[in-house]
Each structure stands twice: as C-alpha cells, then as structure tokens.
Amino acid sequence: MTPMFFAVLATAAILGACATEVVRRPTEISPSSASHPLVATGASSFTLDSGYSRSIAAGTEFMELGRIGEGRVLKPLKAVFTVEGAHMHEAYPVESGGRLVGFYLPVERSFSPLSRPVDLVLERKPE
C-alpha cells in the first residue's frame, strides 16, 4: 500500500467526520383528513445537499399525513426514509405538483428542502 493510499484514506475519513448538518427550517403541519393510501408509480433517485444518495422505489405506499407550506407530507406505510448529514433523521417526503420538493422531519418538526426536486408521481392505491 502506497503513501497515496493512506493519504486518500485519511482524507476520506476527515471529510466523513466533517459532514454538514442537514439544512432545515421549522414548520407547522396541518393534519390531513385524507385516508386513502397513495402509491409511487415510478422510482425516484436523488442526492441530498449533504452528498448522500437516496431513492424512493416504485410501489412505495404513503399516507398523506398533512400539509406544510411547501406541499403535502407523505408518511411511508411500510418503509422508512432518512436524510443524513452530520446526523441522521427520519424524514417524510414532501410532494408538490408531482415533484418531490423536500422532507418533513417529524422529530425536529422542520422542513428540509431538496435543491434539485425530482419527479414523484403518485396515484391512489387500487381498492
């Protein structure tokens, strides 16, 4: 193993130790009366501002938990989603106009925006 290998290893470790905190701002959620599950019709892959990659698989089921200023908050029914920076937070996707625009962090009661929104097409789950 060369000195270069150890230099790369050390740099990666230091960068990993210095991950930035997940960007978020406090928000208030208005509970939703919607009670029918929604299904993602296609897969969505995206990269968080912190550099971590995430995806939502086609067929993932959600319930509309409520609404915040940025869109509707979708609580996953059988899956878990997290956003990650210096720390990891459970996160519910926020959808607006067929686009995934960010995440609602239920513990922090905050909205974490996605700099580059991606398609998130949903349909009512068939009866």
Binding site: L9, A10, A12, A13, I14, G16, A17, K78, A79, V80, T82, A86, H87, M88, H89, E90, L105, P106, V107, E108
Partner: protein, 147 residues
Amino acid sequence: MNCTKLLPALLLSLAIAGCASGPKHSELASAIPALKAGEGRIYFYRSNSMLGAAVQPTVSLNGNVVGDSKPGGFFFVDAKAGPMEVTTATEVEKKLTFTLEPRQTRYVRTVIGMGVFMGRVYPELVDPTEGEAELRQMSYIGSALKK
C-alpha cells in the same frame, strides 16, 4: 516467533472474542414480553462483521445508556411513544432521530464506519422487513428475560 503470522491470528482471535454469543431471536420469542399500553419497541442490532469488531461503544436512547453495540448482537428497549434520539459513543457522535408510535416496532442497526484514528459506529433506521430478517441471525445480548 514470526510476527507476520502471529499478528493476523491475534487479530482474528480478538475479533471472535468480541462477537456476541447469546441465544438467537427465535429461541427467545416466547420470553419476549408483550408491549404495555402506550409503548413501542426498538430493536438495536449490529451485523456480525469482523471489520472494526473491537470497537464496541455504548448505545444511548434519549440520553440514557441502553446497551452496547457488539457484532452479531441484539437487544431491545420498550419505550413510551414519542420522539427518540439514539447516539453511540465513538470518536465522532452521530445521532439518529425518529418517532416511535404506540405498539410500533422499530429497528436500529449500528454500523461501523471509517474514522480518523479508529472505526466509528453510528446508528441507522432500518425498514421493518429488513430489520426483522437480519434480527434472525443475531444473538441476544440484553438483560436476562423472565421465561
């Protein structure tokens, strides 16, 4: 004595000694208590990898130490529903936050990562199906259960 041959053997024996060796989840199923009203359950576990096996930090839930992160080991905590914060005490503290609902079961896997001076262990929230499947391979390292 040839150190180049001795060192790997020493490291291997240290790693094996550090791995969990209690009963499997299926062997304990009947002894695991039912959840109380208003509580949920969190399973904590760590894959049985020899990578960083000697790094075994304590795991804290909402500021209280609830167990250790040991390769191949699992334990569980029943907690009142609400916001949860999990931390592990290693070189760099990485928190995990999530919600726990009444009667809900959550799975938290502790994972070894690369640190500057040593491996660091951090918690991550796992899908229920994945957590349930992985838990079957783990050995119980929590406090004694009443049968």
